[in-house]
Symmetry: C2
Amino acid sequence: MLRPLLPRCGALKPLSSQSSRLLWRGARWYSLKPEASTATLRDIDPTKLTITKTTKPGPLLKKEDLVFGKTFTDHMVSIEWDQTHGWHDPRIVPYQNLSLDPASCVLHYAFECFEGMKAYKDKQGRIRLFRPDKNMARLNKSAARIALPTFTDRNLIDILAEFARLEARFIPDARGYSLYLRPTMIGTQKTLGVSKPGSALLYVIASPVGPYYPTGFRAVSLEATDYAVRAWPGGVGDKKLGANYAPCVVPAVEAMSRGFQQNLWLFGPEQYVTEVGTMNFFVALRDRETGQRELVTAPLDGTILEGVTRDSVLALARERLVPQGWRVSERKYTMAELDEAAREGRLLEAFGSGTAAIVSPVRAISWRGKLINCGLKENEESGEVATKMKDWIEARQYGDEEHEWSYLC
Amino acid sequence: MLRPLLPRCGALKPLSSQSSRLLWRGARWYSLKPEASTATLRDIDPTKLTITKTTKPGPLLKKEDLVFGKTFTDHMVSIEWDQTHGWHDPRIVPYQNLSLDPASCVLHYAFECFEGMKAYKDKQGRIRLFRPDKNMARLNKSAARIALPTFTDRNLIDILAEFARLEARFIPDARGYSLYLRPTMIGTQKTLGVSKPGSALLYVIASPVGPYYPTGFRAVSLEATDYAVRAWPGGVGDKKLGANYAPCVVPAVEAMSRGFQQNLWLFGPEQYVTEVGTMNFFVALRDRETGQRELVTAPLDGTILEGVTRDSVLALARERLVPQGWRVSERKYTMAELDEAAREGRLLEAFGSGTAAIVSPVRAISWRGKLINCGLKENEESGEVATKMKDWIEARQYGDEEHEWSYLC
């Protein structure tokens, strides 16, 4: 009866005059569910996967020449969705341009979300993913938040595994190398109304990448950003949406223009520390009273991306640092707290965490005109926790340590 | 010496070890400007415009069948940009799909911004734009905020005028009809690093549209959203970025599932009223003490889109309502204030404002379990101010009233 269409941009669409009056009288509350039927739509079906191999396999770069996200493998995964049928049969096809109507909603309203994950080659030459269930769960959460379709996690993992095996030749046989996988979902509806997309495309491209620190850690310095805010409670900063990324670039460029490598995001008048650039952020502190060491990161309060590496760092810290007397805290902490700890010699180290670098040690933070030393000595490029975490996580990524986090393709 | 490149996603890029140490010692502050050279790049040059006409002109729909943003004209404007040369020669070409690398940054990080504006046909058959300078200024502000290139406003207006003249046959000769123009800028860099795009595309498509209320106003009812926040101080909610739109859909769908036509955005524990759906929002109140009438909208504090229609409503209200004793206020106001005014019979009317509908009268707002009557009688579909504003603005859009807001193409 009532069409659950969304109004076009810059306008409000009235219901029928009658229902409008019913509403106004408060006589009746409709409870239309606009997607009551989507449960019957087709899920992603990995058994229907078809593979069309390229007739022009690309050359392999020398592994020293690999640059993150610059060159891609021969193929891509492509799975279309529409609101009538659900997910179409998944395909692996030669890497190719997308042909998009200029009215496509991904180009106007940022109907787009993505994941970053890696495929590793173990000592036996087998391909492994790292905690792909985490990425799939997050991709579904991101998609749902912007009215894009969802799917059963496991079904896409099967396809990713097949894809990673197919592209295995692009992964150099050397420690630190991997194949970065970029699952991406975009809305493809080609009308300008701001509404739930009636069609979408899920695709996956892959870029071979080298170790982030080929010659060992290199600590960076940060500028705390006090004029721009990345995320807000009730916003979408905890989802991996394209919408969260473009606005990050200018503050980063600003920080670089003053000689820093990245910006540190703060929140609120309390100047809570939240994230660094596009990474989660950790600090190690020593308690003033008890001397206990504490590994701290901001809590998942809706303003923090639910990083897979963040979660891995926390899990390993609870498993291996807590028995050594550490406390592990997901709690709010402020720049003033860091400043005070640094002045008292209790700020032991700080690092970002993310898929590309695993951990990225931080030397100093510029805040309110002063430079806060994060605890590294002049000749140190990484603290104890960051160094250990990189080793511990890599051991599971490359399968040196058999663990449920590692998924054998 | 130092490369002002941004780090890849999920990682921090160190400077050279030396500069890093310099920073850490606080001995020297760099002030690299990453774009010192862009001032010498080429601007958009309307004198270089080339037009390639379609060989297959499309049919004209019956004007009653036009749907906003669903069908498009025969051509599109296309202007490429790269960081070496600046803006390439502008082109008008047949409407066509874009061929985009799947790694294009617009698809991953929402490097995209747009404008919504209309071309009108006046009684003499001449084509007119409405306040295009406002749209161009806003597009440049939006682009700069996400590190996309900017241009001289007037140069794109010249091209838009040429484009609108070329597509004039799509504008029906009837009041209320117009050609919706959608200038869109996207980042086209095809690498996955989160950084300032090295290439971009500005394009303009056009969709013929009919009057929003072909049979007269139809008031809508809203649900105040208390679980999601559209924008926040220090964020990008005042820019017309794609990033601000996809996250709006789920709250709107939720409101519709309960029988409302759109959601009303609030901010903060005070429940300040900010916007409605994708429109600005106005209320008319009567002062309890003095009886003076007041037209109120939220101030441009960084959380409100700088609507061209909003600005036009304010200007006309100052010009024509203030002499009649009205007060016109850009100030914060809360749901509690509206609720109280409604209970006391002092909430005279409420309406959204935007390019598509000009004004969209609101009958009621659902808030905290009650339905607030916005002042319309049962048999009324619009209040006095909304009705007048639509007439006043249309008179300038269609050139009935000669005014500097109307730009003759």
